[in-house]
Symmetry: C2
Subunit: 232 residues, 2 copies
């Protein structure tokens, strides 16, 4: 089983190929260039350098959200187009679930706090615990206020490892738990296509038409329309 | 300061760009394809995808060894050629020193054991301890027998994090310390160009002509000649 994974849910972007032996190749960038310009060329260059074509891929995986609306749309759309043309199954995985694999470096029982900057004083977040080397989910993906998240992880009273593009912001907001908290360094901090592949290997395959973005919140345009039309 | 780093000391190969803000891009592969076929195209594709040229790079860094003789020759030769043509300074860093940056994810005071498979029942190895978030060297780079290394790290009686392409072999050889030892998972286990860039940022720049491979041992051809000619 050879998986091609895409991750473009925030500022960084990455593509990876994994097979039953683990990571074959990963191409990551955090340059600020737009994903619509960088993502597909990265995948194309990577396959070519591996002497592979899209026909050698068994499954195409993508982080379907939450995350930047534009980033998720680019990733999901690119994968839909590619998989439709190449007639391959796909798998959309939670950005936060994929990110939790970055935490499998930590000791058994550790808490992994996955945080993305959701703007408007919120994080996209979920919590995992490492059991038998695998991240086990403790709550659903959610948009949560910064203060509420800090209170919740301080209540856990465990060593907590913070990953994701909101990690530094979350770490700085902790007041009473700094001694037990680890701000994961680059290159393991950010969401990665390696994690997307690892998560996809445990999920159900989908047809191209089943793959949809998962935003968790209304977009700015939808919010503003609701406020204008319904006054809320 | 923008650094372009190359790592090709064993089976995996990688290239990375780092600047004063950290990792800009890393392109890693562990496919078994020869580095002479993959390494320079990876660098070329990566720079193009970042909208950079070699003229935008301030320093070219490379893992100068120890490691596979062929791998090191390919990396060092590619960097010498590139830096000579582009008139850039270079920096050769120890493969083991660069690998230690993978360990900066671990808690203060942890022991980082960097191990590469040197064949003939030996490891290329060095030990580091994390102090103020930085890996501090505890011994020189060396080729060491597997049994001797196991004895030495068991004597440390500390949590030990094992990185490098010899990590799994070293972990399996530990008998009394397994409970305190962590076999670092992919994608942080193997030597990486990110680590090469991070190490180079703390080292003295060199001219192209000063850059030389560091093998630590005689090559097979040299050993066999000595045995033939001098009977030893």
């Amino acid at each position: 089983m050879r998986v091609l994974g895409f991750e473009s849910s925030a500022k960084s972007a990455s593509v990876a190929v994994c097979d039953e032996n683990g990571l074959v190749s990963q191409y990551f960038q955090n340059s600020g260039l737009t994903h619509s310009r960088t993502l597909l060329p990265m995948a194309e260059d990577m396959l070519k350098n591996l002497s592979l074509t899209i026909n050698d891929i068994d499954l195409i995986a993508v982080a379907h959200g939450p995350g930047s609306f534009t980033g998720i749309r680019i990733g999901v759309s690119a994968v839909k187009g590619l998989a439709w043309a190449a007639e391959k199954p796909v798998c959309g995985v939670s950005t936060l679930q994929a990110m939790a694999y970055n935490g499998t470096v930590f000791p058994e029982g550790s808490l992994i706090c996955c945080v993305m900057d959701a703007k408007r004083s919120q994080f996209y977040n979920t919590l995992f615990e490492i059991k038998d080397g695998i991240p086990v989910r403790l709550c659903e993906d959610r948009a949560i206020g910064a203060a509420k998240l800090v209170e919740e992880i301080e209540n856990h009273k465990k060593s907590v490892f913070i990953v994701g593009d909101g990690a530094s912001m979350c770490y700085n907001a902790l007041e009473n738990l700094k001694a037990n908290a680890v701000l994961v360094p680059e290159p393991l901090r950010y969401q990665s296509a390696w994690g997307v592949c690892m998560a996809a290997l445990k999920e159900k395959q989908q047809s191209v038409h089943e793959l949809l973005p998962v935003y968790l919140r209304l977009s700015q345009a939808e919010r503003e329309r609701q406020e204008r039309v319904f006054g809320r």
